[in-house]
Amino acid sequence: MTAALQFRDLTLGYDRHPAVHHLDGVIETGALVAVVGPNGAGKSTLFKGIVGLIKPLAGRIERGDVAAQKIAYLPQAAEIDRSFPINVYDMVAMGLWRRTGLFGGIDRDARSRIEQAIAAVGLTGFEDRPIATLSGGQMQRMLFARLLLQDARVIVLDEPFNAVDAKTSADLFDLVRRWHGEQRTVLTALHDIDFVRANFPETLLLARKPVAWGRTSTVLTPENLLAARRMCEAFDEHADPCAAAETVVAAVPHSGA
């Protein structure tokens, strides 16, 4: 097994305050990893770091030969302007950006792939609908179709099943399983502990610091979950610089809590 992602004493955060603190570990290629933790645990921050939207305060992320921009990323709250006059087909077609770039045409092969992706998420017949007319679940299906087209080796999903019904989340999880079967690396942030136990082989329990990481059954123990819940959510405005930071190479020392 090779590593898709490696975290080396990684600290991510905002304005010197860490949101993910001293994370070390490896995500193997083809792994299906659930990232679990209370609100404010740093799940979204970790994902933003992985796709390169924020820079580490200290430590680093090694992405092997996969550039950050080749990682497919579904943010928790997509900043989509739903009033924009664009239809489902064009929106899904954006997933081909890496193939088409600025000027590349959409040829017959690409068109059939777009149609397949739309069919795979069950939105056939919605191609010409303006995105403003979609329901929340249909919107999420459309975004998954776009992810399908991105054809990425590493896929990062930030709470993809929030606010969608059971049917939709089951359909969309089938796609995640398919990606897993295709040896793609998938990281998913979730809150549904039972769902994680049933479906994810590997779990990272995060509470700013990593609480536990490994096989799901050994990670999601009552003790670990309690420990994660006790985590203090608030930043300390007057935190001292983190002592552990002196051991790592960092341009700006981040604060301790």
Binding site: L53, P75, A78, I80, D81, F84, P85, N87, W97, P130
Partner: protein, 322 residues
Amino acid sequence: MYPAPAENSSEPPFSADLTGTRGNDGERRIQVSMFNDLFIAPFSEFEFMRRALAGALALALGAGPIGVFLMLRRMSLVGDAMAHAILPGAAVGFLLSGLSLFAMTAGGLIAGFVVALLTGFVARTTELKEDAALATFYLLSLALGVTIISLKGTNIDLLHVLFGNVLALDDQTLLLVAVNATITLVVLALIYRPLVIECVDPGFMRSVSSAGGPAHFAFLVLVVVNLVSGFHALGTLLAVGIMMLPAAIGRFWARDVTLMVLIATASGAAAGYAGLLLSFHTGVASGPAIILVAGALYLVSLLFGRVGGLVRQAFPGRHLEA
């Protein structure tokens, strides 16, 4: 629309004769010449009107799509602010070399770019958001511009800068407007894809490519370029009008960007043509006349537009089966 004169004398039975004098050739000739006097002769007989029309059409061609994207990015008033921002540059150009096309254009471009860059810099590096940053710089720029003009120059000069003069376009200015329209269309074609994606889903754009930022900046440059075009014809105060009114008209008739751009461009061109005629026949200032015609088209769209027009909203018809 006047019915086209029939080639032969046999009258088609369905032809609607507006005057009710069916088959009266003399009457028809009078109508033809009235039509000609009203709608064609001003342009065929006067060169300055032809120039004005060419300028107005070129202006509409560039300003239409730019306006649509400004509107879709919720930057409708940014154009207005930028139009004020180019004033001191144009004024300095005017001070240095009078009503020189080159000096005023270069000055306007420089002032516009400086304000755009400063705004972008402050918005990205401080707590101030883009709108607040732009407000501070364009107001400073405007104050500076008016100060410079009032130092030298008369009220007539000020009027020229503020309201332009589409009826006095010389060769150089006409060429400038045409070149700017061409640049606009070519650059828009180049940045179209990232511009649309950046508009609808900026997060996605950031995660797949770093082309979003440069595309946005190129777009801001196009805004300034078109404002500089517009300000020679319509003045700094009304240059935004030929961008934003057609864009708003397009929004009432189209559900996709392409059609919106086409409608905006067409209504901008129609407003240019009709505005010039209005100005010619009534003697009102040409710049405001163009914008007022665009305003009338906007009002009609607001009331009767297919997409969200007021009448349509008031009488939506019975709801559908599914």
